[in-house]
């Protein structure tokens, strides 16, 4: 894609990201969700799009991140078990200091631990190919949720609450306009970082090899590429950002529940795939556009199709995957290849191969 256009797009997004909450404060939740979704899609795209490994398991890292972050935030100040045990008869309140040391700590570990787990699991799971990989990861995602239901330190099926935004003498602390704004900007920043990291990653040899793996893994191996190393590294990157996204989302939602909030394979786990496909697999911008459109549709359904929203969603899914399997960017690439730096001159197509032996 032409640099100038990309540049304008980036600027547009950054400006939007900074000013939207003040333009429409009442939509901050959906907006933060939008940025989170963009992170979902962009990171899923590393496997599903670039590498051709369709995973349903990335939700695992999201959920882990969510639980880890919350646990750290709490246990930095209090006893976690006491906190989760039936809500605890006494009420816990974080001081400003406790809160703002616990949170970054939590977010950091929420990124690192899932990344490590991805590294360990990766070498096992990424040995699977095609739909076996899809099913295997699906298994991991759901199993994680089911087992989290019985981790009592996390409140098991009860779920657990997340520390509330600290109060200074009764009033919500005013940083960046209170908790909601704070986490909005947090998710926004996370997205921006993710975006630039991926943008750089895809421009390096790494990104190209991922595409090579998608196109023909055997060939890559035969050319001496240690593909497993690339695949695992890719998953680690996804896990890292998904984990942090989870940590943030947990704080936005205020309440964590194993199978519906954290390891929500049936909702988020599927959304991230749809968003990417809708926008266009394997492109940097596809997932972002996909997420944007998807989120708008989703909110739209909730508002106007009360009780029918899932039917509408199901219908949307079917339409997307049957009619636009290559997504918006795919469509563009077909019709506007020059935007993707692909010179299509028919001279080249028709040109005969000639080898002049006299040189």
């Amino acid at each position: 894609m032409k640099d100038k256009k990309e540049f304008t797009a980036i600027i547009a997004i950054i400006i939007a990201g900074i000013f939207l909450p003040s333009l429409m404060p009442v939509y901050r939740v959906q907006l933060s969700e939008l940025w989170i979704f963009m992170v979902f899609a962009s990171t899923w795209n590393i496997q599903g799009g670039k590498m051709g490994y369709n995973t349903f398991g990335n939700i695992l890292f999201f959920g882990l991140g969510m639980y880890i972050c919350a646990s750290i935030q709490i246990s930095y100040a209090f006893d976690l078990a006491e906190w989760t045990a039936a809500g605890g008869v006494k009420t816990f309140v974080h001081t400003v200091k406790q809160y703002f040391i616990g949170l970054p700590l939590g977010l950091l570990l929420a990124g690192i631990i899932p990344a490590l787990i991805a590294g360990l699991l990766g070498s096992l799971i990424l040995g699977l190919r095609g739909h076996y990989f899809a099913i295997g990861t699906l298994g991991i995602g759901i199993a994680a949720g089911e087992f989290a239901t019985s981790v009592s330190i996390w409140g098991g099926g009860q779920g657990m609450t997340v520390p509330v935004w600290p109060k200074v003498d009764g009033q919500d602390l005013e940083i960046l306009g209170g908790g909601m704004n704070f986490f909005y900007y947090l998710s926004f920043v996370l997205f921006i970082i993710t975006f630039f990291v991926l943008r750089w990653l895809f421009s390096t040899r790494f990104g190209l090899i991922l595409t090579a793996i998608r196109d023909n893994e055997d060939k890559a191996e035969a050319m001496g590429v240690p593909t497993m190393r690339y695949k695992v590294s890719g998953w680690v990157v996804s896990a890292f950002f998904m984990g942090i996204a989870g940590g943030i989302y947990g704080n936005i939602n205020g309440y964590i529940e194993p199978t519906e909030v954290a390891f929500a394979g049936a909702t988020f786990g599927v959304y991230m795939v749809l968003m990417t496909i809708l926008g266009g697999k394997g492109t940097l911008w596809g997932p972002i556009i996909g997420a944007l459109i998807f989120q708008v549709f989703k909110e739209f359904f909730w508002t106007f199709f009360l009780g029918w929203q899932l039917v509408a969603l199901g219908f949307l899914i079917v339409v997307i995957v049957t009619f636009f399997p290559e997504g918006i960017m795919g469509w563009l690439r077909k019709n506007k290849p020059e935007w993707f730096g692909e010179v299509i001159d028919h001279k080249a197509r028709l040109a005969q191969v000639k080898i002049n032996t006299d040189d």
Binding site: G127, L310, V318, V321
Partner: protein, 295 residues
Amino acid sequence: MILIQAPFLNLQALLDGLMVGSIFALVAYGMALVWGVMNIINVAQGEYVILGGYITFAVYKLGIHPIYGMPFSFLFLFILGYILYRIIVFRVVDKDMFISILATFGISIMIQQFMNMIFGSQVETALTGFGTIFLFDHNITLALVKVFSFVVSIIGAIAVIYFMKISKLGRAIRATAQNARAARILGVDTEKVYAYTYAINAGLCGLAGSLVAMTYTLHPYIGLPYTVRSFMIVIIAGLGNIPGVLASGLGLGALEEFSAYLIGQEFRIGFIFSLLVIILVYRSKKLAKKREYLK
């Protein structure tokens, strides 16, 4: 450990397991069929089952004995399957399998919602009034309805196998499964074969569903476990291995029943999925030694 305190429970668990397993096996047939022939993983499997159950339940509500619901369930789902194929599924047959997974997922949540609207989300069940049989002076208890469903699913299974062997359509399906292009060249109308394969799958699910309605309880959102298990069964058995499907279906049922005693029922799904992953990884590792991978 309860299984040791009451040794008869082992036999009991085994029998219960086999009976549950037989229903799973029936559902798994359909999946194996569709997977093998059309290279599609049908995620809507579970919803077809539940829908089939509701058809039987509707019949039961009319005051007719639920066993007469079975043919209705089968036919209704058969037709539905055929229609769905003609509208949606045929678009994803030749596409990447992942696409088909998503498409059928879309179908499944739509069906869930429609069931919720039509039948309500009340937990329902159809009573057969079949009695209970006791063996070994009341140490073993079997609900006759389970025995009944066991028998039906076994018969259903055998029927499928024979259908595949004998009937013209069955042979066409097998041919297509082996090599669609060759079949086409030999004048098999693969489109038709696909459509009927998918319809038969749905029909089988319907039949299984009507057994579920009589044996267990129905709820619009309880479909997933059936889909999951049929995955498992087919993967363990391997594609195009119909007798294997029966075996692994029964095996899984028993295994699951024991896991319910040993590690607790709340882990059933978690257990199944972990098992799925472990099996996949194990098999891929074994192949990796031969420098190959699961295809």
